[in-house]
């Protein structure tokens, strides 16, 4: 094409950095806005304890900020790092890293806002449960950020690992596909985890003595609803580390790109759905502690069934990678 390798790498790095920070800022801001909104309603209900509510709001927003801080780290790395071994492949890797972190921070950002908001509202209804609510809010929104952390791991790997002498086509599509797969799949899981955490804070405010049961089922529900993002992570790893033979047909890189898109988009729905299931279960465990075992069983079965489309997406991705 007449461009130098360094130029193409810089192009990809800057575009990737812009995407990473741009998309990464979306989720956290919406989540923090939701927290502040609920805190306002809470203060209007109960102005005397506005100091406590205010403190909880700030703490919750600080934890939800983490997702965009990860995006900032990746963006700055992309802007200022010089690639050790310049090759056109690195350009594709940088773009993939930007995509992965950018998309990945959206869901977790929005999700982390829910527990903060519900905790602030819960403090206004039940001021005595203040410390338990704050603790639960911190745990819930921290675990809810796990998909964004996976995205950051994939982005860091794409930036720093030297992929040696892999052939340019079709590996460029493999890297961009890896970024898309992890990034998109993290949207659903992040949002779903947030739903579960929010419901747990609401439940604790209604019945503070059920804290241990509610926390346990929240953690289990969040862990299962992170499974679609783990599938996305797996496909990312396979795309990054499998060695593809050199091929000059158009079909092969498009197949790898398609695998990334398939797993990426396929993880969004099941992630949100699993989160809704966990939310319902957590909400009703707080109201009905004696039946928490049955509720957990039904939640797990329901989540397993609603993950079926994610499994189909993973199967199709694997077929696209290995068979085509």
């Amino acid at each position: 094409m007449g461009f130098e390798v360094e130029t193409v790498i810089k192009i990809a790095a800057y575009t990737g950095g812009g995407i990473a920070m741009g998309l990464g800022a979306v989720g956290a801001a919406i989540g923090e806005g939701y927290t502040a909104a609920r805190a306002n309603i809470a203060i209007s209900r109960n102005p005397e304890i506005s100091g406590d509510i205010f403190k909880s709001m700030l703490v919750g927003q600080a934890v939800a900020e983490s997702a965009s801080i990860f995006a900032l780290v990746i963006a700055i790395l992309l802007l200022f790092m010089d690639a050790a071994t310049p090759s056109l492949l690195k350009a594709a890797a940088f773009l993939g890293a930007g995509l992965s972190m950018g998309f990945g921070a959206i869901g977790s950002g929005i999700g982390s806002g829910y527990p903060g908001g519900e905790a602030c509202f819960g403090i206004s209804q039940q001021p005595a449960a203040d410390s338990q609510l704050t603790t639960n809010m911190l745990i819930g929104s921290a675990v809810c950020q796990t998909p964004a952390i996976f995205s950051m791991v994939v982005a860091l790997m794409l930036i720093f690992i030297d992929f040696g002498n892999a052939p340019l086509t079709p590996t460029w599509a493999a890297f961009i596909g890896a970024g898309l797969s992890m990034g998109l799949a993290a949207i659903g899981s992040g949002y779903g985890g947030g739903l579960a955490a929010g419901a747990s804070c609401e439940g604790i405010s209604r019945s503070p003595q059920s804290v241990t049961n509610v926390t346990t089922i929240m953690l289990v529900g969040q862990a299962v609803s992170q499974t679609p993002s783990i599938f996305g992570l797996l496909i990312s790893f396979i795309l990054m580390f499998k060695s593809f033979p050199e091929s000059s047909m158009l079909a092969t890189p498009m197949a790898l790109l398609g695998a990334g898109l398939c797993m990426g988009f396929g993880g969004i729905g099941p992630g949100i759905g699993n989160g809704m299931a966990a939310e319902g279960a957590v909400r009703w465990v707080a109201r009905n502690v004696e039946h928490s075992n049955e509720l957990m069983r039904i939640m797990l079965v329901g989540q397993a069934v609603s993950q079926s489309t994610a499994i189909y997406a993973m199967v199709v991705s694997l077929v696209l990678i290995f068979v085509v």
Partner: protein
């Protein structure tokens, strides 16, 4: 801006492989140890019934963390694990605050520190689980609720380590990067201390608390 990636490293060649020690991070960790030991000695030196300010501070911290551990683990187990949790929290708190002192850097800015602490927490949680439930019941947990969930459960456990380590690393590293970049772009005297206050003090405290709480919660999930 090139100093983002520079790190003083000590490379020792052993039997053909290289052992790399990040010298700066290790020295910073020793400084944290020294500060904590001095604080502890001062707080408990000549304990009186009517305490002096430093002793009150020490008692306040210990009682708060002991209460947290008891809430999650129950009275008997809390006696075994509370010292660990207190030590973990104090170490993380002082490490995250170390960046305020000029020329010193937080040891948690390096992935090795946080990953090491995460793996330690993981092993302790599983050891506690095996000791309290017995080996057979512990293995059976992985096969709940359906048989083929086993690989997913295993991956979930590893994911827990990855997530708490990277979360702490990302937050602290991100804070220091923002401060570096903003100081580079603006020539203000007011903005950097304000930023330091927010990122190092506020976010550092919260992240230390979150890391500690998650470790406690993981231990409690294993021993139930």
């Amino acid at each position: 801006m090139g100093e983002l990636g520079k790190l003083h490293q000590l490379i020792i060649p052993v039997f053909g492989h290289n052992i790399t020690i990040n010298l700066e991070v290790v020295v910073m960790t020793w400084i944290v140890f020294a500060l904590l030991i001095i604080l502890g000695l001062f707080a408990s030196y000549k304990r009186k019934i009517l305490p002096r300010p430093i002793q009150t501070l020490g008692e306040l911290i210990v009682s708060m963390l002991y209460g947290l551990t008891e809430d999650a683990l129950g009275k008997e187990l809390a006696k075994t694990y509370a010292p660990l949790i207190c030590a973990l929290f104090m170490f993380l708190l002082v490490s995250n605050w170390l960046g305020i002192i000029p020329h010193l850097e937080e040891p948690t800015k390096d992935l090795n520190t946080t990953l090491g602490l995460g793996i330690m927490g993981f092993f302790i949680a599983h050891y506690a689980g095996i000791r309290s439930k017995g080996f057979k019941a512990y293995i059976k947990e992985y096969f709940q609720p359906i048989f083929f969930m086993m690989p997913l459960n295993l991956i979930g456990e590893v994911a827990k380590i990855v997530s708490i380590s990277f979360r702490l690393f990302g937050n602290i590293m991100g804070g220091s990067i923002i401060i570096l970049v903003v100081s580079y772009l603006t020539y203000s005297l007011v903005l950097p201390p304000f930023l330091y206050g927010f990122f190092a003090l506020f976010v550092g405290t919260i992240q230390a608390f979150v890391f500690t709480m998650l470790t406690v919660v993981y231990i409690s999930v294993q021993v139930k």
